[in-house]
Structures are given as structure tokens and as C-alpha cells.
């Protein structure tokens, strides 16, 4: 237990959490183990947890996100939202297998913005290859990692559809999703999450994605998932334009019961999303679980209190919106915060997102149908920057691990510098995703057209785009 001695001498409680993960044979750590050696470093508990997590994240998209979004639109557009989220998820998982995984998770050599094509069509990915974790000499099957990341790559684009729900043509939207996954999601995932791994980085100190190299902290996808999808949604709703009748006719949600069902399933699935991102079933996984749980409760509670004060009535929609905002904000921070700072983060994100979706949105007048920008992008930014604060070991946070040495040690945490790094990561994501998304939407608008005719929009997308109705009474 050399690593344990080194860490506990230099650091204290925060970093010691990571050590509980260390198996007993940690004394004989192997640097850069080959595949045969990696096969002996796989823990069935870790693998099981990752398989379960993967299925949980699938449930977040199908059906949870669809129900959450679908309940908020009018009856005539219910099926369009369910179909858009379902097909986006399916198509993106195919793209992920064909080339997405390779672009995101292979080395780009000197290029730190996207990976290569060596694993296109899953070339060389077999039951006998392994993915790295955050611990020296701990591995798990690469196909499990591929599937886990596939659910992320498939649900993130599906988040975007909420921004221009009730007024988008189906086929151009699906084409957008393929292009967006390839040109935006995969590079950002590479920049934030690709690295050689703890047993290899000391020998190949240049083998990482751009934002990982800067030291940006994003445990489960504040930048990669929420800011990324949120800003793309804003571009989409601005370029597609407002719904006919926006602000002049009432467009109340058709079933908040369904929205509540979807949000609840999202919360459950989010444990796979966040805790799965730990890649191992250990003490840190327990911390991530507690943080995810508490930040969500805090944010839902805070939103209800805000509404009670502002409107005099706490609404269910407010409660679930707060819960989602809390989940979004804790996503990047869940592996770095303490349970108590997670609660504070939950309070803060609800205040910010409430102002965003009530006051700011109405002032600016954009029609982000389901508040993808206001909740996911803004909540993601609160989380991404908040991560720098809650990760500080002085506040009970986990700090960061320095993987440039073997075995890895805890790094020296500097909150101010980390905040700057997080802001850089946020800005890069906003510019990359916002810019490319805008170009893609414009090209599709000028070629295939993004918006159905006024008549189709009035009749509803269900009957005119999909030839069926959600409810036949």
C-alpha cells in the first residue's frame, strides 16, 4: 500500500476516499500493463455496476425524457416528441458504433480536439479489450465502456429537441442529429474525457483531450452533455423561429402527470449517469450517489419555496423543473463535491434557473419550448463553475488527482485557477457547439427546410408528420 502511505501523509481525508478503491494487491502496481495483464485487473463488481448503469441511462432517454418533454407539449404534438427522442436515441447509437466512439475515444496524437478512426465500426473492440478507470491497475471490459458512453452520446442529442418542440420537420431533424453527434458531441467528449489512463499517462504525457489537458473537471457531463445540448437548443429555437401563436394563445402542458413520471424516471436513471461515470463500484461511487441524491432534493425544494414566495403557490411543474436543474448542476460536480456543498449547489441552481426561465426568457422573447437552454445550458454552467468551488478540499471536496506520476497522487488544489479553467471549458463548449449547431441549422433551413407549413403546425405534428394521434377518445 505504497500509494496509501504517500497520500495519507501528504493529504488527509479528502484524498483518502479514493484509496478505499485500492485493492489489496496495490503494492504490486504494474505500469502500462498489456492486455493480458489488464484481464487480471477486472473486477466483476465494477463490471456489473457499469452494465446496470448503462441500462439506467437508456431508461433516461426511453421513455423518461420523452415523457418529461411530451407531457409539456399540447396533445396534438405528443407523439412527435416521443418519436423524436426515440429515433434520435436509436440513430445516434448507430452512429456511435460506426464512427462516434472512435472519434471520441481514440488518441488524436498531437491533435487534442478529436480522435482518430482506428476503431471505426468497432474495429479491434472485443470482449478481450479493456477500458481504463480512474484508479491504477483497475480495468473493465471495453465493450461495457463503449455501451455506457453510447447511452450518453445518444441521450445528449435527444435533449436538444425540447427547444424547438411542436414546430420541426422530422427528417431534417434526424439529419441534424447525425451531423451534430459527429461534429460537436464526439469532439467535445474527446476534449473533456479522453485520456491515456492512469497507468499510461506518465509514459505518454501528451495523450489526452484538449480540455482534459487544461485540467477542466467534468465528472459526468456538465460541459459535454448539458451545456453542449443546451446551447445547440438555443441556436435551434432561434433559427427555427417561434411557434405560431406563441404569447398570443395559451399553450399549457397537456399532461403534467406524464411530466412528473418522466422526471422521476430521469432522477432514478441519473444514478446510472452520474454514479456510472465513476467507472468503479467503490466508496467514491457512494459519494457520487449521495451528492446526486441531495442536490436534486435541494433544488426541487428550493424551486418550490421560490414559487411559494413569488407566486404564492408551489407548482408541481416547478418542483420537477427544480429537480432536473439540480440533477444538471450536480452532474459535473458529483464526483468532487461533498454532500453538504451539493445541497448548496442545488439551492443556487434553482435560483438561477428560475430567473432564467421566468424573467430572462420572457424579456428576451425567444421560444425555447421546453427550456432546454434555461435549464440544461444555464444549469450546466452553474454546475461547471460551481464544480471548481465544491471540489476544493478546504470545503470538503475531493480536489483532483495528479495522474502524471505513477502511481497517481492527489494534486495541489487552487480554487481560483480552477474557476478560470472551468470558465475556459464552458466558453469553448458554448462557442464550439453554438457555432457549429448554428451553421448546421442554417444549412438545413436553406436546403430541406426545418419548419413544417403553418397548416401542418396548426393541425399538430402527430397527424401530419407521423400519421397518428396520441389519444383517440
Amino acid at each position: 500500500m505504497k500509494l496509501f502511505n504517500k497520500l495519507s501523509a501528504g493529504l488527509g481525508v479528502a484524498a483518502a476516499t479514493a484509496l478505499t478503491a485500492m485493492p489489496a494487491w496495490a503494492a504490486d502496481l504494474v505500469k502500462a500493463p498489456d492486455v493480458a495483464a489488464q484481464a487480471g485487473m477486472v473486477n466483476k463488481g465494477d463490471t456489473t455496476w457499469m452494465l446496470v448503469s448503462t441500462a439506467l441511462v437508456l431508461m433516461m432517454a426511453v421513455p423518461a425524457l420523452g415523457l418529461f418533454y411530451g407531457g409539456l407539449v399540447r396533445t396534438k404534438n405528443m407523439l412527435s416528441v416521443l418519436m423524436q427522442t426515440l429515433m434520435t436515441f436509436c440513430i445516434c447509437s448507430l452512429v456511435w458504433a460506426c464512427w462516434g466512439y472512435s472519434i471520441a475515444f481514440t488518441s488524436g496524437g498531437e491533435n487534442h480536439f478529436f480522435g482518430g478512426l482506428s476503431k471505426m465500426f468497432l474495429a479491434g473492440v472485443t470482449p478481450g479489450t479493456y477500458a481504463v478507470t480512474f484508479s491504477n491497475n483497475v480495468y473493465f471490459p471495453e465493450l461495457v465502456y463503449f455501451c455506457f458512453q453510447m447511452t450518453f452520446a445518444s441521450i445528449t442529442p435527444a435533449l436538444i429537441v425540447g427547444a424547438f418542440a411542436e414546430r420541426i420537420k422530422f427528417v431534417p431533424l434526424m439529419i441534424f442529429m447525425v451531423l451534430w453527434l459527429t461534429l460537436v458531441y464526439c469532439p467535445i467528449a474527446h476534449m473533456v474525457w479522453y485520456w491515456a489512463g492512469p497507468d499510461f499517462l506518465p509514459d505518454t504525457p501528451n495523450d489526452y483531450g484538449y480540455l482534459w489537458g487544461l485540467g477542466a473537471l467534468d465528472f459526468a457531463g456538465g460541459t459535454v452533455v448539458h451545456i453542449n445540448a443546451g446551447i445547440a437548443g438555443l441556436m435551434g429555437c432561434l433559427i427555427v423561429g417561434k411557434r405560431i401563436g406563441y404569447k398570443t394563445e395559451p399553450m399549457p402542458p397537456h399532461s403534467l402527470t406524464m411530466t412528473m413520471t418522466g422526471a422521476s424516471l430521469l432522477w432514478v436513471g441519473w444514478f446510472g449517469f452520474n454514479v456510472g461515470s465513476n467507472l468503479e463500484a467503490n466508496g467514491l461511487a457512494g459519494l457520487v450517489f449521495a451528492n446526486t441524491f441531495l442536490a436534486t432534493s435541494a433544488a426541487a425544494f428550493a424551486w418550490a419555496v421560490i414559487e411559494l414566495i413569488v407566486h404564492g403557490k408551489p407548482s408541481l411543474l416547478g418542483g420537477v423543473t427544480g429537480a432536473i436543474a439540480g440533477l444538471v448542476a450536480i452532474t459535473p460536480a458529483c464526483g468532487f463535491a461533498s454532500p453538504m456543498t451539493s445541497i448548496l449547489l442545488g439551492f443556487v441552481v434553482s435560483i438561477v434557473c428560475f430567473l432564467m426561465v421566468t424573467t430572462v426568457k420572457n424579456k428576451l422573447g425567444y421560444d425555447d419550448t421546453l427550456d432546454v437552454f434555461g435549464v440544461h445550458c444555464i444549469g450546466g454552467i452553474v454546475g461547471a463553475i460551481g464544480t471548481a468551488i465544491v471540489a476544493d478540499p478546504a470545503l470538503g471536496g475531493q480536489g483532483f488527482v495528479d495522474y502524471t506520476v505513477f502511481p497517481a497522487v492527489a494534486g495541489k488544489y487552487d480554487m481560483a485557477a480552477q474557476i478560470i479553467t472551468q470558465i475556459k471549458a464552458v466558453l469553448l463548449t458554448l462557442v464550439w457547439s453554438g457555432g457549429i449547431s448554428a451553421v448546421l441549422f442554417f444549412i438545413l433551413k436553406l436546403t430541406m427546410g426545418l419548419r413544417p407549413s403553418a397548416e401542418v403546425e396548426q393541425d399538430g405534428l402527430d397527424i401530419s408528420e407521423h400519421g397518428e394521434r396520441a389519444y383517440n377518445y
Binding site: 399549457p252 403557490k313 407548482s315
Partner: protein, 112 residues
């Protein structure tokens, strides 16, 4: 013959029906309707979107009655649907020219 049309608060329907039964009224037609009068609608807030619904849900009761009974029917509805609050509704009485019972072909007062 008269047709008594009453617009009432939905939760008062049962009381009105019982009161009319007590009077010997043997049938009525009930419809769910929306409308507005002096009673203001409610405000619904969905995140940032605020909708004031100026249409309030009401129940429309229609009772066809003989000329003799019409006055009592109106009186009973007025009493049983009354809460004293704004939005209790209105009663209209119109003349009916002719009535037919479809099963037997009986007409007018006998058909009611």
C-alpha cells in the same frame, strides 16, 4: 310549455337535481359548458408562461316543463344552486312551441 335553462356551478349539480326530483321533474339534460360573466377566471402559471383563463367551467341544465310548474322549477333551482358568491350562474326561461315523445308519438304536456 317552458324550457328552463340554468347555468350553475358544477359542484351544485347534485343538489339541483335532487331538488327538482322532489318537485316531480322527471328529466333534464345536462351539458358541461364554459363561459364568463362577472366571475373572473383563474391564472395558470407554467414556469415562465402565465395564462389567465377567462372562461370558467359551468354546468348547463335544461328542463322542459309545463307552464304551471315553470315558476316553481325556477324557484327551486335558484335556491338549490345558490352559494351567495359571485359566479353562481343564471336562469333563463323560454317558450316551447311543441314537444313530442319519440317512442309513443305523444305530444306537448303529455310528452314531458
Amino acid at each position: 310549455m317552458k324550457l328552463v335553462i340554468a347555468i350553475i356551478k358544477p359542484f351544485k349539480l347534485d343538489e339541483v337535481r335532487e331538488a327538482l326530483s322532489g318537485l316531480g321533474v322527471q328529466g333534464m339534460t345536462v351539458t358541461e359548458v364554459k363561459g364568463f360573466g362577472r366571475q373572473k377566471g383563474q391564472t395558470e402559471i407554467y414556469r415562465g408562461a402565465e395564462y389567465s383563463t377567462n372562461m370558467v367551467p359551468k354546468i348547463k341544465v335544461e328542463v322542459a316543463t309545463t307552464d304551471d310548474l315553470a315558476g316553481r322549477v325556477v324557484e327551486v333551482i335558484q335556491q338549490s344552486a345558490n352559494t351567495g358568491a359571485i359566479g353562481d350562474g343564471k336562469i333563463f326561461v323560454i317558450d316551447v312551441a311543441h314537444a313530442v315523445r319519440i317512442r309513443t308519438g305523444e305530444t306537448d304536456d303529455v310528452a314531458l
